[in-house]
Amino acid sequence: MFLKMFFKEMKDSFRDRRTLLLTVVLPLIMMTALVFYYESLLSDDEQTYNLAVEKGTSEEILSIFSTENFNFVETDDPEFAIEEGEAHTGILFDDQFTEKVETHQQATVKVISGDSFSQNASNANAQVMAALQQYEQAIVNERLTNENIDQQLMTPFQIEQEEITDDNAGMALLGTLIPLILVLAIGIGASPSASDLFAGEKEKKTMEALLMTPVKRSTMIMSKWLTISAIGSITGIVTLIVVALEIQFMTENLKDAVASTENIGLIIGIVAGITIIYATFLASILMVTSIMAKTIKESQSYSTPVMMLGMFPIMILTSVGTSELEFHHFVIPILNIFSSLKELLVGVIDWEHIFITVGSNLIAMIIIFIIGRIMFLKDKWVMN
């Protein structure tokens, strides 16, 4: 009986074009977009930036920036050009900049920053500043040489920077990207069936027809829950397969990063396991929101905020480095999915963290399932 219901519900769900679209096509699109975005961030090809300069700025001055990848946008009003989005950043030189520099007068140069929220604008800005500093240093060195002073006098020490996790930058990026998409995809994939299987059945009165059969209510709720879990899991696994294939066949930097990670097979296995556990946990939550609702629409209005809540951990965790993850990051459901995957994807397998994550999700899932079951046994929640 249980299996009959389960198979019928799976068949029914997958005949819904929304489910098909959301479980397969959407993860495909989201993942492809993100994989390529991160690949482009990792790649060494330097981006070229548009730099607004005043018309008539001499070639000699512009040669300051020749080593950088700049396109010059000559304009009467650099600020306007930036506002219009024609340039990432702009620069205004003193009228007699070269003369002043040569005659040891203080010259001025004004750097106009673009949109501070734009990654491109701030990169462009940083490169302009770097070029100017280099140029400044060159002038200082020249002057010191002219005065017969040792250049080292002006540079008491050299700063060398080294980022310890730099090797793993690729995986660290994946560690924030994959959980986000996974959580989104599972939520979006499972929610149509969740709202269909309870609220939808109430709305269409198939629920009453079901209740009139000798099937036990506990059997019904188990089969419905399993359907939602299965669809969530399928979405999650499809998403993972898509990333894996795309990284393997369509990227170079990410592929190298993955290949250099130890135990990659085991890590992928654990990630898949956690994905399924999370899908069952989310299925319980979506099930309760659907039982509470009288119509599909109402159910969606409950489940949307729940899925939004799932996005919060991203905000908490983006500022936390992998090595800073603590106990509580692995205890709180949803948050711990992000923490665990983040850790796993930089190649760290910490069994304690994994068990805490799985355990806390299972416990939360069971508690929520029981709440749903209690509700489903009450007539009030079963019939409109």
Binding site: K8, K204, K205, E208, M212, P214
Partner: protein, 250 residues
């Protein structure tokens, strides 16, 4: 066959209590066709749900074929078929056949029994042409035939219809009326709710009139005409409300 004994049903809606049924008692004999009459909100659906074991009475008991609705719901479920609304309770993404097969399986019918039953129902309702099409594109009339077939899939002796013709066009409503005739000839016990007096007049042996949760009349329809010296059920219903005092008239 159906004994309704002093049934009261109270709902708690937020902090407010709604009494949907007040001390309702009547019996329905085997093979009888009963029309349940009442305005919107009178308590018809609540009463049918209680008979169908889907709701437990707050007070009183209901026995169907000798079984108690609260204590032995599963014995009753095998004997009873219920259709709430005229064309509802179908899965749109399944074909007509799949809908029937699914419910047959939930009633534990064997593969063979299911096939035979679906054949019978298909013939009875003339559904051959669209049996393997998805319900999604069905007209209301097609849906109604399928919904009724689903209700009858396990050959119930007792059939409850809640407002079966509401929202249907005349042709579909007539299909239902013919069907009730047919089922009556097969000796089925039928209760259907309606607010269409003509329909009840046409099909029923007896009527039960409910108003605001109270049973204001139950009895043979011919006898009622005699007593009232009138054959207009609409008129009788209204005059009963008036005679019942200001409490009845809304």
């Amino acid at each position: 066959m159906i004994e309704i004994n002093e049934v009261t049903k109270r709902f708690q809606d937020k902090k407010k209590y709604v009494t949907a049924l007040k001390h309702v008692s009547f019996t329905v004999e085997e093979g009888e066709v009963v029309g349940l009459l009442g305005e919107n909100g009178a308590g018809k659906t609540t009463l049918l749900r209680a008979i169908a074991t889907l709701l437990h009475p707050t007070d009183g008991t209901i026995k169907v074929a000798g079984y108690d609705t609260v204590k032995q719901p599963n014995d009753i479920k095998k004997k009873i078929g219920v259709l709430f609304g005229g064309e509802t309770g179908l899965y749109d993404r399944l074909t007509a056949r799949e809908n029937l097969e699914y419910f047959a399986s939930l009633y534990n019918l064997s593969k063979h029994e299911t096939k035979v039953r679906i054949d019978e129902l298909t013939k009875m309702f003339g559904m051959r042409d669209y049996l393997d099409r998805k319900v999604d594109g069905f007209s209301k009339g097609m849906r109604q035939k399928l919904a009724i077939s689903r209700t009858l899939i396990h050959e119930p002796d007792i059939i409850l219809f809640d407002e079966p013709t509401t929202g249907l066009d005349i042709t579909a409503a007539n299909v239902f009326r013919q069907l009730v005739h047919q089922l009556k000839q097969q000796g089925k016990t039928i209760i259907f709710s309606s607010h269409i007096m003509e329909e009840v007049q046409m099909l029923c042996d007896s009527v039960a009139m409910i108003h605001k949760g109270e049973l204001i009349y139950h009895g043979n329809i011919e006898k009622l005409y005699e007593e009232e010296n009138n054959e207009d059920l609409n008129y009788i219903f209204m005059s009963k409300l008036v005679r019942g005092g200001s409490d009845y008239v809304s």
